[in-house]
Symmetry: C2
Subunit: 314 residues, 2 copies
DNA sequence: TAAAAATACTCCATAGGTATTTTAT
DNA sequence: ATAAAATACCTATGGAGTATTTTTA
């Protein structure tokens, strides 16, 4: 008889490829896990792993079973979640993944509002690149992610929250009038500073500046926007800065922000979750909360911030 | 701890809405099932059923859990199937659903070839309307269905096998030349004979004869093509007959088959299965087998059959 | 020889069965 | 009063732990 326990253990084994460590991961002894794997192989009638003293490897069929098991386990987690969170909205733990170009700018404004509106929520935030977030989401290690839309993948549902314009950050240029608009063609590929590979921001910037192929400084990607902005301030080049990040990243007058000519580049920021997730009401509430928090004026200095009709800070 | 056993029992309860009968269905005693349901409710923290002496009813949340449980159970069945049928193609049981306007005409030609090519297959055939087949397929009671494509529904994959032309069956008309072509507009709605509601053949016929709304005899649907053809032979009207059925249904010379003007109406016949099914290789083999069997001349009398260049039998 | 998985053996949690009680109509 | 689910209680299966052996690179 097939049991979830067998699938849980096998899932752990498929990840660790090591009986002992897999047993640790599911908090049982190694023989206990061995037996369940054995039992699973018996009920399926096929070999799932090749046992070698120094290496455990999945068979071809083992990989397929691992895929199916992961899916089933993910759905059982969702089923459990549904029970636990039936009734009340946004209670208990909520594991939220956010991309690096959003997290530090949005969280300070959203977190206070969220914990005030939903005091029983236990928010666990994880920050990585979109690709990692999607993978964790699929594996059931995250409940919902906040990233730039659209996101690839079936089994994924999403909700766009707001559009975030890109501005051009350049070293202070007192000679430029507030109304100056920059055309993307005027960007010099050799001085465009970008984040490292994998950041969606990098791809979006390159996509907008069609002619520019990564070369010169573009090829050496920074790991954080702060680093990039420091380089801009030091006169090493220019970069595309999401408006969301402006109030935090532009703290001195060594940097000016310029608007682009229409159509202005922008990214769409929104939430995404597993289609099978039972917590859509929670995600709705979270999305509403984020929007409400953004409607409030930013709490911080907001110093050289980009108000809608006061675009340029030189 | 959530177990598959709990889900299996709850699934049975959701179907039978009766603890005793559900327990029978899963071959345990009623208290055993009661306990597992209780345990499931405890781990989920919600009530799944309202217990009343004379009636068990699912709560709102119970229905949702039942849906999710059914899905999980279906995927575990697929996982088991994958194991059992890994390696060999078309062995063990294969539950095939076929619509009534295909089954009696195709099976006599396909079954011998199939059991010869795959002697270890245990084919279990079920015959119902498309809607019923899809529902059984989704619930995991069928492995694959043979019906007219396209079929609605996500989670469904299909493979078209062959196109089946519709011919017009009329009472013997010796006055008509073999080359006569019928235009759909010439069909009189009041004499068009159709199968009862739910048969895709009925919808396809009505769809082709655009002007004709069900009225007169069309509204009284027959339950089998044989009945319809008897009525045609008796002069009660005309009907659209799939070419596949011609050799069986047209046994005497009281009926003539006429071809339509181009573009001739036809249906696409093919196989469909759950996207998550692990037995796609089996379905491939089955499809190939059906096509091969159809390439052979029909074994039966084939008397007034519709050979391609000898369209009319008067 | 050493690392890692499989066996051996014991224990206990729990699923299941039978008999009985409770409950609501 | 009756049908049906819950409870009580006992049994036994099997999952888990510890200690040990086997395996092969």
């Amino acid at each position: 008889m097939l049991t979830l326990r067998q699938l849980r253990y096998f899932d752990a084994l498929a990840h660790h490829l090591h009986f002992g460590r897999a047993a640790d991961a599911v908090s049982v002894s190694q023989p206990a896990l061995s037996m369940q794997i054995r039992e699973l192989e018996a009920t399926l009638g096929i070999a799932l792993v090749e046992r070698q003293p120094n290496a455990v490897r999945l068979t071809e069929q083992g990989r397929e079973i691992a895929r199916r098991a992961a899916r089933i386990l993910s759905e059982t987690r969702d089923l459990l979640d549904y029970g636990r969170h039936a009734g009340e909205v946004l209670t208990g733990s909520l594991r939220l993944g956010i991309i690096p170009s959003i997290a530090p700018y949005l969280l300070p404004r959203v977190l206070p509002a969220l914990t005030e509106a939903y005091p029983n929520v236990d928010l666990q935030v994880r920050e990585t690149l979109t690709q990692g977030l999607l993978s964790e989401l699929g594996q059931g290690n995250l409940d919902v992610i906040l990233a730039a839309l659209p996101l690839e993948g079936t089994d994924i549902e999403s909700r766009a929250l707001f559009d975030d314009r890109f501005l051009l950050a350049v070293r202070n240029r007192p000679d430029l009038d507030e109304r100056t608009r920059i055309a993307p063609s005027s960007i010099d590929g050799s001085t465009l500073l970008l984040l490292e590979e994998g950041h969606c921001l990098r791809d979006q910037a390159l996509n907008y500046c069609e002619g520019v192929r990564p070369e010169g400084r573009s090829t050496f990607g920074a790991t954080s926007l702060s680093t990039v902005m420091q380089m801009v301030a030091a006169g090493y080049g220019v970069t595309l800065l999401p408006e969301l990040c402006a109030s935090v990243e532009v703290r001195d007058d060594r940097v000016s922000l310029l608007r682009f000519t229409d159509p202005q580049p922008q990214r769409s920021v929104g939430l995404a979750w597993r289609r099978s997730s039972p917590r859509k009401r929670d995600f709705d509430a979270l999305g509403d909360c984020i929007l409400a928090a953004l409607d409030q004026p930013a709490p911080a200095p907001r110093q050289p911030g980009i108000a809608d009709d006061n675009i340029l800070t030189l």
